[in-house]
Symmetry: C2
DNA sequence: TGTACATCAGTGAACGCGCGTTCACTGATGTAC
DNA sequence: TGTACATCAGTGAACGCGCGTTCACTGATGTAC
């Protein structure tokens, strides 16, 4: 009866999450529905209920996966960046943030749609905490290395996050493209912007600190 | 029959926009519907069609009003800030951006929901251009005053916008509150962050430029 | 190796709902004369 | 000042739709013996 002739899907949970990603890529978050996801996968519309209690639970799980992916690519970027100190690691994290957001906008959007997601879900909170602590640790390292200057670490962390988050959100919303003469690759823009910020506020590894 | 006993409403267009604001404040953008807006105002559900061709048109008009308000408060903030130079005006604009976003989240959210709004609508584009040109003009003034240093004006404008936009979005999404020990007023946080950025990148009016 | 059976995943019909949009209508307004 | 009438704003019934959720069911799986 079914194309694949299978009754038990095997890994429906993962398939559903992949379906969400597909739908958002093709037609936006507003078109995500349990029924549409089920349709994509070729499964009855009642099936998702066995894996996710509600639509909100599905989207929360999707966002949670997004945070896990973000943390992975950010860590990876730090490792392969050849950064000489924590300030350069901060730049690497910032670039990775924007790269992730612009190359996986389907995740990024849901991760920050507070009205679509259950922000108090434990797994969600854990994944988002883990991602944030990467930033926090990097700022602490900058402080230990004596490059924080007169800045408050909390303010610096929030500022850095705001900077890359804003750039990512505006880029994905098509607002940067419309405002720049030379259309730049978002990641290149991220590099310029984070270097400007980090260099100005904290100095550079080769040059003197302020 | 109607409470007010009126048949012709008088200013239904404005009332509809105000209704949108109310609904978002009370229960989020996802609960905005033409029927619900009409219900609030006490008008039949067919009435909005005389003023807005579609739900998207209504939300686009709402976002357009948001940009106009933003431009107004930003200009106002510059005028009353007592800024001594363009760098201080940039700080004033940044604070105003965050103050607007956090005190009128219902507007801010729709202004940047690219999937809910017709980004190519002429009135929308004009209003959003007007708001952006305020930032652009301020950066140009910084350049004329000789405080831009080695920075590229375009990069600086994008960075400044990203910074305050990110802070506003994260604050409204409840992401900052959860990450700071001392719960700070968003506008105070905006002041710290923009001062950090502008001071580090461009120097301060009393101190020396870099 | 074989069989009984509990468990679990997926089915498909049914529910009630709110939505956007259309349309023939009616009531109010204001203008031409 | 009065009247006819065009215009326009708002009404309410109707349309077709897709949605989330529930539930009795059935088919597949894998475990106990």
């Amino acid at each position: 009866m079914k194309k694949k002739g299978v009754y038990h899907h095997g890994d429906l949970r993962s398939a559903l999450l992949e379906g969400v990603a597909q739908i958002i890529r093709e037609s936006g978050v507003s078109n995500v529905s349990l029924r549409e996801v089920a349709r994509r996968i070729g499964v009855s519309h009642g099936a998702p209920a066995h894996h996710f209690a509600s639509k909100q639970a599905l989207l929360t799980a999707f966002a949670t996966e997004g945070y896990a992916r973000l943390a992975t690519v950010a860590l990876d970027s730090v490792v392969t960046s050849g950064a000489r100190d924590a300030r350069e690691r901060l730049i690497a994290v910032g670039k990775a943030y924007v790269r992730f957001a612009t190359s996986s906008p389907e995740y990024f959007e849901v991760m920050f749609r507070s009205d679509a997601v259950d922000i108090n879900d434990p797994a969600f909170a854990a994944a988002s905490d883990a991602a944030f602590s990467l930033l926090q640790k990097t700022v602490e390292a900058i402080e230990k290395e004596g490059h924080l200057g007169k800045h408050d670490p909390e303010t610096l962390a929030i500022a850095a996050w705001s900077l890359v988050h804003g750039l990512a959100a505006l880029t994905n919303g098509g607002r940067i493209e419309a405002r720049t003469r030379s259309r730049k690759d978002p990641v290149e823009m991220a590099e310029r912007v984070t270097k400007l910020f980090v260099g100005a506020a904290l100095g550079t590894a080769k040059g003197r600190a302020r």
